[in-house]
Symmetry: C3
Subunit: 200 residues, 3 copies
Amino acid sequence: MDISEVIEISGTVAFAISGAFSAMQKRLDVFGVLILGFVTAIGGGTIRDVLIGDTPVNWMRDYKTPLIILGTVIATILFKKYIKTFKITLFLFDALGLGLFTIIGIQKGIGAGLNPGICIALGTITGCFGGVLRDVLLNHIPLVFHKEIYATACIIGGVLYFLLIDRLDINVVKIIAITVICGIRIVAVKFKLTLPKFYV
Amino acid sequence: MDISEVIEISGTVAFAISGAFSAMQKRLDVFGVLILGFVTAIGGGTIRDVLIGDTPVNWMRDYKTPLIILGTVIATILFKKYIKTFKITLFLFDALGLGLFTIIGIQKGIGAGLNPGICIALGTITGCFGGVLRDVLLNHIPLVFHKEIYATACIIGGVLYFLLIDRLDINVVKIIAITVICGIRIVAVKFKLTLPKFYV
Amino acid sequence: MDISEVIEISGTVAFAISGAFSAMQKRLDVFGVLILGFVTAIGGGTIRDVLIGDTPVNWMRDYKTPLIILGTVIATILFKKYIKTFKITLFLFDALGLGLFTIIGIQKGIGAGLNPGICIALGTITGCFGGVLRDVLLNHIPLVFHKEIYATACIIGGVLYFLLIDRLDINVVKIIAITVICGIRIVAVKFKLTLPKFYV
């Protein structure tokens, strides 16, 4: 199990907890909590796979991810009182997962022969659209459209990826991009940085 | 026309009426009522087909289902006053349809070479996600996440299907699984059984 | 660049402005405005491509459309004060785009060997479902389900297309169908025509 697998699992766990937790706040039943955990964790990758036609989608061909999500949701329900204690840890996992998922999406796009701009869009979709689906199912306007910088971190990391890819070793490029995405996200939340808004 | 075709048509009709009726309650226009009827009836199967890559999706390759839904929606609008009279009949059709759609989804998953856990998920998606789309389009949190037991019936029926599949004739297994799903659903509504909820 | 390309670009621009504008009204941030512009402009075609399995979906294989939408959203943000001045122009572009997108969807359906009824549904999805996604993301019931005649224009234009296709030159048929869709839409808005509603 290499380092990127560890990050991917941590990110999946963090995303699943976020979905399950939001569902409990909205007083859904156990099935609702389970589905929200799943949708948040695998939603972005699922939309990506459907858009590029890589089907059956990723999580259907692999026992591991669904089992990890199932276990995470059960643990979230059992230990809901203690989750707030791990708030910062979870946020860091989430930020790491965001970085890694973005890079996974970009690489899938490259593999499908798409141009760099579209690959960055695919990476951003992979990182952010699980949360978009979560919020739509819970009847909110998606947080990622109006809260602290989130998707912008993916876009900046993605642009950096393509700027560096011909100059450095691929693994170095990945680490830099993930670090930048994760770093922007942490700085954004710490200093409550938001994108400008324009009312009409 | 065999028995499972009769059940499938009854289920489609019940789902289409449910969608059309919810749309009328929200004061949508005729087109909105039509779309909600369609989405509720074919939404689950459509998401399933898109996820496994079986495209063009099922209802696009078959004249019958769209025509049945169209006829059902028109009849629902014309006879809306009398529909409440058939409330129990409709509920029974809906429960039967839920059972059959779940089994159809499971069999599609087996056909696509997916593992049993994923097949059960596909069956549950087929049975439940038409209603999820209906509720999202009508700006509700999906009923299936917080009302009487619904998806859980699909999951139990699906597990039973895989437990029995090597021991009994396939048709017997299907009948048992459909009966169990349908039975759980009827008992759940009759006794107002809900899944536990965990607030945070 | 032929005439239908000019219409397609105008339609894309009009749809992107509509999405970006709605997002600004809901006080989304810059990323939210961008995504809403994209989803409104390419959502219908994306759902169509996913349903028929024509992947990677259309906008991923073409630099032009994403760049046009990006430029349109930036211009919408910069010149938001002046947009109301062009309200009528924009509405006309939107109506033209609706007509053209419907015909593009129908032709894709014919290319995929689908029957005429399904092709008309595909055309209607192409024309209308970008707006449906926009409204779902902004937490509204889709306008197209309860406001002035919209989808009905697509359906009528689509039926006309199939009635005329064996009798007239294909380009003449396209122009007639687009004109009819666009004309119905203009008349509907001018005279505030809505479809009948049936409450329950």
